[in-house]
């Protein structure tokens, strides 16, 4: 049993190492010229702009549901006035960033995994190289940069869509006005709740793009391999997002102790 487990462990470790090197290369080449501006814009369109409706609609729904739940629990304490603030702080601190990242790991991760996987098995990546194009820069760096830019923006859209959803639920229940809702929504939020939580989604974007690109780039064995790459891209990037979130939250608490209080 051990003689079979040992090579498996070695292989797993080797894969972790490869992913790590792949990620480091992505970081390095993201900041060093030449930049693939045109292609980055195209990826921002594909991965960012086209994800906006998904995120906005989900945010709206999450806001409505969260509002109904907070109402149920806060009503017991006679603290209905806290509903907008409670919802907003939950959204901005964690629900918005994490939900957006998980949704996008589904949409973007699967897309990148499948697209790059298919390009790999049909030799399109080789063809790029043969055309004297740096495939890593052209395919990976552009997606990583697009994701790192798009995630905070999409998270912000999620947050506001969630608050609008909360407002719709609230105004249906009590007829509260929009301006009162937004004023009271922001009463508990501090800069240290808002800014770090939004910025941290850049890390989520990086995770989604690099993990999925790596799996796409290392796809083997044809169409079946493409499907596998796509699935694993979603599974692994969601998992990494959730795990890294623990570390990121810990880190934010460390840098901004007032958030934890």
């Amino acid at each position: 049993m051990l003689d079979r487990a040992a090579p498996a462990a070695t292989a797993a470790l080797a894969t972790v190492g490869e992913v790590w090197l792949f990620a480091l290369k992505a970081v390095r080449e993201s900041v060093l010229p030449p930049f693939e501006f045109r292609e980055t814009v195209r990826q921002l369109y594909e991965l960012g702009v086209r994800s906006a409706p998904l995120v906005a609609i989900s945010g709206l729904a999450v806001g409505v549901v969260l509002s109904m739940h907070t109402r149920a629990s806060l009503e017991r304490f006679g603290a209905e006035a806290m509903i907008p603030a409670g919802l907003a702080i939950a959204l901005v601190r964690e629900t918005g960033p994490l939900t957006a990242a998980l949704l996008l790991s589904g949409r973007i991760g699967a897309g990148i995994g499948a697209e790059l996987g298919a390009m790999k098995v049909t030799e399109q990546i080789d063809a790029l190289e043969a055309t004297a194009v740096d495939s890593f820069r052209y395919l990976v760096v552009t997606r990583v940069v697009a994701c790192v830019i798009a995630l905070p923006i999409l998270t912000t859209i999620m947050n506001f869509a969630g608050m609008i959803g909360g407002y719709l639920a609230e105004t249906a229940a009590t007829g509260m006005s929009l301006s009162l809702y937004f004023t009271s929504a922001f009463t508990l939020i501090d800069m240290t709740d808002y800014v770090p939580a939004t910025i941290k989604t850049m890390v989520f974007g990086f995770i989604i793009a690099t993990m999925s690109s790596y799996l796409g780039f290392t796809t083997t064995s044809g169409t079946e391999g493409v499907g596998r790459a796509s699935t694993r891209a979603v599974v692994l990037s969601s998992m990494l997002i959730i795990v890294s979130n623990v570390i990121l939250v810990r880190l934010i608490f460390f840098i901004f102790p007032e958030v934890a209080g």
């Binding site: 921002l44 960012g48 702009v49 603290a79 923006i153 912000t156 859209i157 506001f160 808002y194």
Partner: protein, 447 residues
């Protein structure tokens, strides 16, 4: 590829950044990063869990936040709060504005409330320090009251022992001191009586607060009640100090008598003087605790229902129907003194067994009404002088109240006594009454 997506992508990125900036602005607006503000200071010896960033309200309006809390250097120092307040509310804040730390609802955060000042006072200068009222701490007050009760009880026992011993010593030593001794005995009795009342009243208040029910919230927000409660605690301490002094002097007097040398008359005179002032202090304390108890139980209750504060209601006003109202009418049952009361060995009136039966019979008429109906026990007494009528009628009302509250589990928040003297407009015997009347203000809809 030929389609140019740059404008859409540009709009996405710029729009996202703008939306993010709107969030920043909404937070910054609350933190008043974009508003003119000025600094204000207030000092408190307790901050009750207030934190940096806590809200500041001026006359109830959100006006800023607590920017910093400077910790005092020693136990006697005060926390110095630096408040950042909107400039446009500056005209409301005058040198006589008072800051207090309050609770934002049951589950809310602590905030600093700054009351608007009076029109005639000048504005507080920027970085000025305004007056503050210490946060109210219920548990703290209850503890102090309990301490006062214990202190009074212990001291009374001690003093009584000391004085008795002194008196008997004096009696042994000097037969000629009869007059003095009689006086001393009267003082000691009066002190004992007053202190019993004071401790009873305090015990009733503490029990009432512990039981909670409505009045706690009232008490939390009622500054006058809080202030008088605190005053009573310090008054109790003063009275106890007086008693101790009396006790010391009594002991000194005893020593002098035994020594056969001292100027007996002088010392005895001192003792008497001290005892008299101790008696007065204790009597004041008894009066004040009585007043507090009444306002504590009734203010909270009647205020809520639009009734007058009973401590502010004179017998005259009460007779004129101050407690009756559109939706409540008085239901009165009369009970005469000969059945109810008999004098005990000390000459004090006590409730008789027949009296209890009479009261039980009377209560039968009231039990069908809601327990939240205000219930007033009116005491009446015939006597030669007004003060004796007053005291005697109050004693009767108290005796009856203690009995019915204890036996029928009435809510002390809804039970009051009224010392009426002798006049009774609609009594069964004509214009005067000797005894008590049980009066419940029952809802008119219930017949």
């Amino acid at each position: 590829m030929s389609k140019n997506r740059l404008p859409i992508v540009g709009a996405f990125v710029v729009g996202g950044l703008l939306l993010f900036a709107v969030g920043l602005f909404l937070i910054g607006d609350r933190r008043m990063l974009f508003t003119d503000t000025f600094e204000l200071y207030a000092e408190f010896s307790r901050v009750s869990g207030l934190e940096n960033g806590g809200k500041v309200r001026v006359a109830g309006m959100d006006a800023g936040e607590v920017e910093e809390i400077h910790v005092p250097t020693g136990p006697t120092g005060k926390f110095r709060l630096k408040l950042r307040v909107r400039e446009d509310l500056h005209p409301l804040i005058r040198v006589d504005s008072v800051a207090s730390i309050q609770n934002d609802g049951l589950v809310g955060n602590k905030f600093v409330q700054v009351e608007a000042g009076s029109e005639g006072s000048p504005e507080v200068p920027p970085k000025g320090t305004i007056q503050s009222r210490e946060p109210f701490d219920l548990a703290d007050m209850l503890n102090k009251m309990n301490e006062a009760i214990d202190l009074i009880t212990a001291t009374i026992t001690e003093v009584k022992g000391g004085v008795d011993e002194a008196v008997s010593s004096i009696t042994d030593t000097a037969d000629g001191a009869q007059v003095l001794i009689a006086d001393v005995g009267k003082d000691v009795r009066a002190i004992t009586e007053s202190s019993r009342k004071a401790t009873d009243n305090l015990t009733a208040i503490v029990a009432g607060v512990r039981q909670g029910r409505g009045s706690v919230g009232k008490l939390l927000n009622d500054d006058a009640l809080y202030v008088s409660a605190r005053n009573i605690v310090s008054q109790a301490e003063k009275a106890v100090a007086n008693l101790r002094e009396a006790s010391e002097q009594a002991k000194g007097a005893v020593a002098d008598f035994r020594g056969d040398s001292g100027p007996m008359k002088g010392l005895a005179g001192n003792l008497q003087q001290t005892l008299t002032s101790a008696r007065e202090a204790m009597s004041d304390l008894a009066e004040n605790t009585e007043a507090l108890k009444r306002s504590f139980f009734f203010r909270g209750f009647f205020n809520r229902r639009g009734y007058f504060d009973l401590s502010d209601v004179s017998v005259q006003q009460y007779r004129e129907g101050a407690l009756a109202s559109g939706d409540r009418r008085p239901l009165r049952i009369w009970a005469g003194a000969p059945v109810l009361f008999a004098k005990d060995a000390d000459g004090q009136e006590q409730l008789t067994d027949d009296g209890r039966l009479r009261l039980d019979a009377a209560m039968a008429a009231f039990v069908k009404y809601p327990k939240t109906s205000p219930f007033v026990i009116e005491g009446y007494a015939e006597a030669d002088t007004g003060d004796v009528r007053f005291l005697s009628s109050r004693r009767r009302a108290e005796l009856v109240r203690d009995y019915v509250v204890g036996k029928y589990g009435l809510d002390p928040d809804f039970v009051a006594i009224m010392s009426m003297g002798a006049e009774a407009d609609d009594s069964p015997t004509g214009k005067r009454w000797d005894g008590v009347a049980l009066t419940m203000f029952v809802p008119r809809s219930v017949s």
